[in-house]
Amino acid sequence: MSILVNKNSRVLVQGFTGAEGSSHATQMIDYGTNVVGGVTPNKGGTQHLNLPVFNTVKEAKIATDANVSIIFVPPILAADAILEATDSNMPLIICITEGIPVRDMVTVKAALKNSNSILIGPNCPGIITPDEAKVGIMPGFIFKKGKIGLISKSGTLTYEAADQIAKAGLGISTAIGIGGDPIIGTSTKQAIELFMNDPDTEAIVMIGEIGGSMEAEAARWIKANGNKKPVIGFIAGQTAPPGRRMGHAGAIVGGAEDTAEAKMEIMTQCGIHVVKSPAEIGKTVKKILG
């Protein structure tokens, strides 16, 4: 009933003993996520939240058989944390950290090409498969179980959409926050592809924003692959002035092609149900699924 994370996910927390890592690990455990341990260099051998702490990802993976790693490491050190997880062949890496310098992410992106790891983020809220696993910082109670796949570049806007979907009487198969940075591990298109191949996802909601070409790329892919499942889309930033970064490092209009208007136009042409108002996401999903 999901993609990427489920009740079999064995989650390792990098930056486990820090304030963010501790707080969110606790909430993930409370949600029912199977957190198996954490990594904090130089604190290996100790216990934290009644779980083992390791010095390195390699050690932790051998000891715990973790298959997902979530990263709460400060921006300047976070790229190195991703590289460490990649080097340990961690199948899924979720990086929450916001503010990683672009130069560091260019290096990470190159390393990922030669690995089997999937990176989600950085600068994202994580992934949740309702009632199974929450590997992220989102408030779990908003996400009701169902058959809608949700992809978003932003945190609170994901919660908004999930809440509207729940109020429309529907639910979520999996929600992925792919991140708001200019370089991210998993693109909108890649996430859509996962949902298209998931037998338990019946429709997809994709929430994008100004900047970059990921939504257009995803839209063209959806059309080229025969619009197999209905896709409902929204692009935030219709009123954003060009040349200004709107909070997210990647949310900047640089040319004629990456405005909200241009993206919505391409999405419409590719058979996506584009919602103009962010207040109508839930309603539209309901209408389309009849």
Binding site: P101, A110, I142, M246, K276, S277
Partner: protein, 403 residues
Amino acid sequence: MNLHEYQAKEILKAFQVPVQDGIVAETINQATEAYKKITEETGSKFAVIKAQIHAGGRGKGKIENTEQRGVCVVKSLEEATQAATNLLSNKLITIQTGPKGKIVNKIFVAKDAYTTGPAATQEFYLSMLLDRAKGEFVIIYSTEGGVDIEKVAHETPDKIFKEWINPTVGLANFQLRDIAFNLGLKGEAAKSCQKFVANLYKAFINTDCSLLEINPLFKNSQDQILAVDCKMSIEDNALIRHPELEAIRDLSEEDPIEIEAGKYNLNFIKLDGNVGCMVNGAGLAMATMDIIKLSGGDPANFLDVGGGANAQTVEAGFRIILKEPNVKAILINIFGGIVRCDKVANGVIEAYKKIGNINIPIIARLQGNSAELAKELLDKSGLKVVSAIELEDAAKLVTQALL
């Protein structure tokens, strides 16, 4: 973070990148001294005076209500003094500043690079930036320099060349040769170009630039390549490892309200509309601006208060938004995930009472954790605050507030 041309050139010099050198001046006196020093060094009467503002189009731009351009060639002490007098403390209007213009606080008195000699001079274009789609840095260059590169890309795309840089390999020698050949350079000029680009790339990487643009990239009459102009932006996320660059930030070029907001950890961008907004999260903040527009208003700002929507941040947000007299209403849109809405509501009430007389309607849409309780608190507060839980209702309240 944007740098001035004179600051960028200092950085390039440290990386052995040849530039059209000069002296920065903040007063007319400093400018005349700089002119004397420069002309003494070069043995020529020619010098170039360049306004230092964070905007392009300076060469074609003019000082408000005059014919004084932002960049001009002078050939005597009198002309240099006149240009400095015309520029300093006056408003320069360029295609990028818009009609508001920018005050010129500094000018750069530069050597004349265009002297005649054995070889013909030529202008090219070269920039380094991120290609988002590929996740790699790219060098974009063209034989057409000193002009608007977007126009060149549109009208004659065959004159634009690109070299993508493999992050694990770095900028390779064959790419340096390609650049020189594609620009039509030979012999000494080609060698000079390769060295120039290699060092420029070092500067780009080591200072974490988000943009490094040399326009024009110039071949002088001695077949040497140098940067006549330079636009350099440092990536904000990387400033933490460059305290020396953070130290030369020119705050006078930035919006004072945005600087103040930064002190409260508020991510604020001023816009020209009539409805202010205060939101948690960047994506929801953009979506809230869109809602304002769809409700018949125009957003007065972007404001992301982040995870900490408490009395202090709300108060700071109110005060900053209220500075703008055009604002007719404020929409607060908080999605309470981990943060409880009733706490945010109490923060709003506390901030409102502390400020006292707010003469415009406040629309508070608090959704998520404890939303019902928050609405009750706001409705019973007796303040000029209307509340909503659903985004749709908040949109209707915005429309009503503007009637």
